[in-house]
Symmetry: C2
Subunit: 379 residues, 2 copies
Amino acid sequence: MTIGILGGGQLGYMLALAGYPLDFHFRFLDPSPQAPVGRIAPRVSAEYTDLEALEKFAHGLALVTYEFENVPVAAARFLQKIVPVYPPPRALETAQDRRSEKGLFQKVGIPATEFAVVDSANDLEQAIRKLGLPSVLKTCRLGYDGKGQWALRTREDVQRVKKEIPAVPLVLEKFVNFSRELSILAVRARSGETAFYPLVENHHRGGILRLSLAPAPRIASALQREAEDAARRVLEELDYVGVLAMELFECDGRLLANEIAPRVHNSGHWSIEGAVTSQFENHLRAVAGLPLGDTRTLGNCAMLNLIGELPEPGELLAIPDVHLHVYGKPVRPGRKVGHVTLRADSTGQLEQRLRQLPSFFHREEFCLSQRLAHSAKYL
Amino acid sequence: MTIGILGGGQLGYMLALAGYPLDFHFRFLDPSPQAPVGRIAPRVSAEYTDLEALEKFAHGLALVTYEFENVPVAAARFLQKIVPVYPPPRALETAQDRRSEKGLFQKVGIPATEFAVVDSANDLEQAIRKLGLPSVLKTCRLGYDGKGQWALRTREDVQRVKKEIPAVPLVLEKFVNFSRELSILAVRARSGETAFYPLVENHHRGGILRLSLAPAPRIASALQREAEDAARRVLEELDYVGVLAMELFECDGRLLANEIAPRVHNSGHWSIEGAVTSQFENHLRAVAGLPLGDTRTLGNCAMLNLIGELPEPGELLAIPDVHLHVYGKPVRPGRKVGHVTLRADSTGQLEQRLRQLPSFFHREEFCLSQRLAHSAKYL
């Protein structure tokens, strides 16, 4: 069975590495002729809007999936006429627009952050009157890794932002005084079977994920059930097939939905070593019509993103149960070029191993030192 | 770093899948243009004796290793003049000749099966007088998966075999009334650091490995130490770098060395899911000059080889913690086309999951039913 994947970045790369043992073949489509998957699978270099290329790409494929959430919905719908596309293009469409996403949360009854629609500078004033400050202004589309967002703390921030508001649909979100950011990875098979990974604790810096702890320390079972229930509602409403990530805020012991990603997700990378079945294998099992794999965890994990630079591997790999993943992309500032997963048998052993990491990982941007300073509280 | 690998079969395939996350690139050399690694890495199709092709192959490589133990030693020595070759060609040379191999065991003081050199029909009679019947006659070179072996139980067997003895060096081995076949996977880094996986219990049928249990059930710690000590002596004598497999017989609570393989080994495939670091990753870490990874096991595993046919994946993958590995080779009778690993938290849970396997796996050739019938004894 040959699976077509739209997008040829690290998520596609890891899907292919997980899928070869299951006897899947892959074909990728990515506009960039430098996409790293080209090393391990056939890659078509074409724009997502090139219908002729899409048609050629789809020839002989058993199904198409995607690893990039900003694939144009029109491309997914076009392909759907030729070959099954999972997750359904409607999931892509919903996740690409913050208003649709928030509408979905409302429809299925999931608590989410308060928001107001903003189409102009005037709307912004009205939205601020409704929600107050601090708030966060976000573009509805194409925001990622902190781009397309403006934190509004003071009236001065508002005045400055009003001058630079782009002429695109926006939403204003009430600033949530959350205690931490969590995410849950969920998967739904073609048969309707669902499975869930444990809640993960995420730390961002500059809008980019830096550190995930899996399972998130100190999660009451009721909170895990709440997260699974929310994710299940989304999966069923969208008649979803594949892995879906849901980002959440923990506030006063409750969860608020922030956003969904209709694909495998950076906060699930720990599952390669830390779960019986990785998110990558489970996504492929789901879209290919196979039974889902066990999502049970194997100990405790921490995942650290490598942004814009790689560590010296020798010192790192001398620590037991450390796993390095380099994506084979040209190393450029601000770019996710790899990640490291530490696994341990207990939170205590995990903390000990995190402290053993080379100084490279104790710089502020990894969020590790700050997190370890809190360890009396959580770990 | 680009690593050259001689041989493009499933072992090379699994080395590449394990090595990409560590930022290794690969280039394979295999005489067959159908070698399955071609799907995931650049492959040079050339004979191992084609020096011009070898020289071109080596260009720009950081080092060369091999996944096939019958690579001509001359090819490894030729490459060694251009680029580092690990494991050392002397290990290849020793493992390719049963007499050298037995000489090595004697030199380093490892108990092994009694044997006698046979170069002619006359020698055979003399050897039988020395060792008695039953015995096993084996070619010194190019025997694998039960080929090049003759079991001699009676005088009639001897008379028949005398007529068909090939004109090549042979050894006669005294038949060992072993209680079971075991193997140990060992790894030595460029720094001299060593690590060992636990003893594995192996079941063969028609000379081909069918079933491995890892760790081998009911192994006294003294036996594990004895196996590690034997493997360490071989590693050090050969100034070895990489993974080495040693096959052993358990007789009356002691170990007899049978043979070594200077490469990753079929009886180590369970380590992909069942150990903190797989044999494939550890081989690459060793040859690349990185620290070795932790060889600790994660529960109990059974590995079943898929010979000449593949099971229906849906039924199989519905069992928790079952992992399918298909090698992407054309399916032909007698050919290793994949393997399945079951992992469990205890031997009891493993046994339960083995019993849940589809009927496909309970046919005689998988050795599973017979093994499970013995479970009161071992598992």
